[in-house]
């Protein structure tokens, strides 16, 4: 990872935040760092962050955080410009890394869908698919989650500032579930859980900690064996449509989940 530490620390590194189609939650996570926000503003120059300030400093930017997916032709253009002014580009969250919940449109016949939806389609331009940032430009680091975990977000920024590899594991949710001492909801209560195929990072196997099955908001883990998990879910009573829905949610566009959802579609 190229980092701020590679050059003399004269100037504060600049941070730019960009938004595409999303709920805003991922960039809001930055403002949710109540304890760190002002310190962060001392360590980096917030150069572009429309949700917080109209002030925009000139690029290029040392770090760009990109929230949201690409759904319109204008955004497909704009994201190219963002890449050009960014040295190190991090995508934030499920929308930016996998197309987000709005990628559910990718599974419909889009033309029919569009005419169904719009009274005046001429006013609205939208692309057929909601796509991840990485299908348009090169991305240096992808932060998962719907939404991202603010501690992971801070970790990526801190790691960047100090030339460290961020501590962002890619293994399963189960790892953290067990470390927390949770009782597995799938084994002990028969509740279907996506934890074994989902990447850890939500901050401690949140759903199982609250007595529900993980619903996959951090997307596929490093080596997801979705077929084996689906087979087990079936034994727990899940039907094909349940499997389609489970894999086709906030990370519907992530390859492993997309394929698994398609495998159960009649």
């Amino acid at each position: 990872m190229k980092s701020a530490a590679t050059r003399p620390r004269r100037r504060k590194p600049t941070l730019a935040i960009w938004k595409f189609a999303s709920c805003d939650g991922c960039q809001l996570s930055l403002l949710d760092c109540e304890d760190e926000l002002l310190d962060l503003a001392n360590e980096v120059e917030i150069a572009h962050f429309r949700e917080a300030t109209p002030v925009t400093l000139r690029g290029p930017y040392d770090v760009s955080l990109v929230d949201g997916s690409i759904t319109t032709p204008q955004d497909a253009e704009r994201v190219l410009a963002v890449r050009r002014v960014s040295k190190f580009l991090v995508t934030l969250g499920a929308c930016a890394t996998a197309g987000g919940i709005q990628a559910l449109r990718n599974f419909k016949d889009v033309k029919e869908f569009a005419s169904l939806v719009y009274a005046r389609p001429e006013y609205i331009q939208t692309l057929e698919k909601s796509t991840a940032i990485s299908s348009h430009i090169r991305v240096d680091f992808e932060l998962r989650g719907c939404p991202v975990n603010k501690y992971q977000l801070l970790e990526v920024i801190r790691a960047f500032l100090h030339g460290r590899k961020p501590n962002i594991p890619t293994y399963s949710v189960c790892m953290e579930c067990k470390r927390r001492g949770n009782v597995c909801v799938m084994v002990a209560q028969g509740i279907p859980c996506l934890g074994p195929v989902t990447q850890d990072g939500c901050g401690g196997a949140l759903c199982p900690s609250y007595q529900r099955g993980c619903y996959g908001c951090f997307g596929p883990m490093e080596t997801p064996n979705t077929a084996s998990l689906s087979a087990w879910w079936r034994r727990l009573g899940a039907r094909d449509e349940d499997l389609v829905r489970a894999f086709r949610a906030f990370n519907a566009g992530a390859e492993a989940f997309r394929k698994e959802s398609e495998a159960h579609e009649k």
Binding site: A21, G25, A41, P54, T71, V117, I124, Q211, R245
Partner: protein, 434 residues
């Protein structure tokens, strides 16, 4: 992406800053006449109502939360209430109170964010909260502290601050123990003090003159300041249940916008949100909040949208007070949720999102899948009113220098804390009927 140089008397803000989501502003003036006011929303549409179809009703709270990262709890609340109404389920007692507590958390968090980082810089002449913090460190830290207290409520009850994972149709997946809530108590007491100071602080800001005669629309509950429940009432005598909402409110698609406008049938624009709530529920505030409002110079009615910053602070204070009450009375219920069985049915509900009335309606099939969904968020309801405000503001301030006028216009928009992410969930079903 700088603003184009406006020609003549055209005010154009390509990208509004310090609002949630992506929007612009366009005002055209000729002589002393304002010809056109457009609040331009180009946040890309995300078609929520379309893809809710065919999903299981139990997924609705999680899916609709993703409409907005700023007020996910509001979406979850409107969704579960609408679905419970559909399925004839009553959720009362401690579970109801926990929902109220969760909502208080979101109000505190969302209002504190708006007051401190988005709105106050307008009054004090800073481009943003972070730069404001250099000269007003205390006020910013106080605001962030409050925001954190609100977020902590949401995190304890919901697992995380954005898109909480613990809300389900029928209640919660897991309810907290008393011990889990206890640490919040101390923090909320401190937050309540901070909120009092915030009310005093915002009251001292300079407010431009602007008295508007809106029709205020809000929920009203027999005894409580409205959050989850109540009838829909207006300052002009409307008094209906959520089930009747669509008989009275209509939506239209504006050509310049990716969001739909909502209007009261047969009447002018109306206003939802803190001002509406406050004006029609003043007597339901806690004594402390009422007193603080009075001391801040607010009467039981407030018609100046710029003063919404004070009203938001009063609501934060109320929410801290209310949260403390709910925590002190909390006894964990036996079960975390009421069992809910699907059947063909439909139901609607409104709750009070931080930015105002949020309407959800669902029709579900026998197997529990959603057949139809309709969602009307606060910002699409206020859009017309915002444009109206801009019109009267610009008309009465044509003497201002251009930069100043433009800045003030932006401020007018920010008075509403418009959430553009919400506004572009995009509505489908009305259109289908056409």
């Amino acid at each position: 992406m700088k603003s184009d140089r406006p020609r003549g008397r055209t005010i154009r803000v390509d990208h509004l800053a310090r609002v949630e989501g992506e929007g612009g502003l366009y005002i055209k003036v000729k002589g002393s006449q304002v010809l056109e006011v457009k609040l331009n929303i180009f946040e890309p549409p995300r078609f929520f109502e379309a893809f809710l179809r065919g999903r299981d009703f139990r997924e609705a709270p999680d899916i609709t939360a993703r409409i907005c990262g700023i007020c996910p709890v509001a979406y979850q609340m409107s969704a579960v209430h609408a679905l419970e109404n559909a399925l004839g389920v009553q959720v009362g007692g401690a579970l109801r109170n926990l929902r109220r507590l969760l909502y208080c958390g979101e109000w505190i968090e969302s209002h504190a964010l708006h007051v401190t980082l988005l709105h106050a810089p307008d009054f004090l002449g800073y481009p943003d909260g972070i730069r404001m913090a250099r000269e007003h460190p205390q006020a910013v830290r106080r605001g962030l502290g409050l925001k954190k207290a609100g977020n902590e409520i949401v995190t304890v009850l919901g697992g995380r601050e954005i898109h909480p994972i613990n809300v389900r149709v029928g209640g919660f997946y897991r309810v907290p123990s008393r011990q889990e809530l206890q640490p919040l108590e101390e923090k909320l007491k401190r937050a309540r003090d901070a909120a009092l100071e915030m009310v005093r602080w915002t009251a001292k800001l300079n407010f431009p003159e602007l008295e508007q005669s809106y029709e205020f629309v809000t929920l009203r509950h027999p005894t409580e300041y409205p959050l989850n429940e109540g009838r829909i009432v207006s300052s002009s005598g409307l008094d209906i249940s959520a089930a009747e909402y669509e008989d009275h409110f209509a939506e239209e698609q504006a050509p310049h916008s990716n969001a739909l406008h909502s209007t009261l049938r047969g009447r002018a624009a109306y206003l939802v949100g803190p001002l509406a709530r406050y004006n029609l529920n003043f007597e339901r505030l806690s004594p402390l909040a009422r007193e603080a409002a009075r001391a801040a110079g607010l009467g039981p009615t407030c018609r100046n949208p710029f003063q919404s910053i004070v009203v938001r602070s009063v609501e934060i204070l109320y929410a801290c007070d209310e949260a403390l009450r709910l925590i002190s009375e909390y006894e964990p219920p036996e079960r975390a949720f009421v069992e809910v069985e699907p059947r063909p049915s439909s139901g609607a509900a409104c709750t009070e999102a931080p930015r105002g009335l949020l309407y959800h309606r669902y029709r579900i099939a026998a197997d529990g899948s959603i057949v139809e969904a309709k969602i009307v968020p606060p910002t699409s309801q206020n859009q017309k009113t915002i444009e109206g405000d801009l019109l009267s503001f610009v008309e009465s301030h044509l003497g201002l220098a251009k930069d100043e006028l433009q800045a003030s216009c932006e401020q007018v928009v920010r008075n509403y804390d418009p959430c553009i992410s919400c506004a572009t969930h995009f509505l489908t079903l009305e259109l289908e009927k056409d």
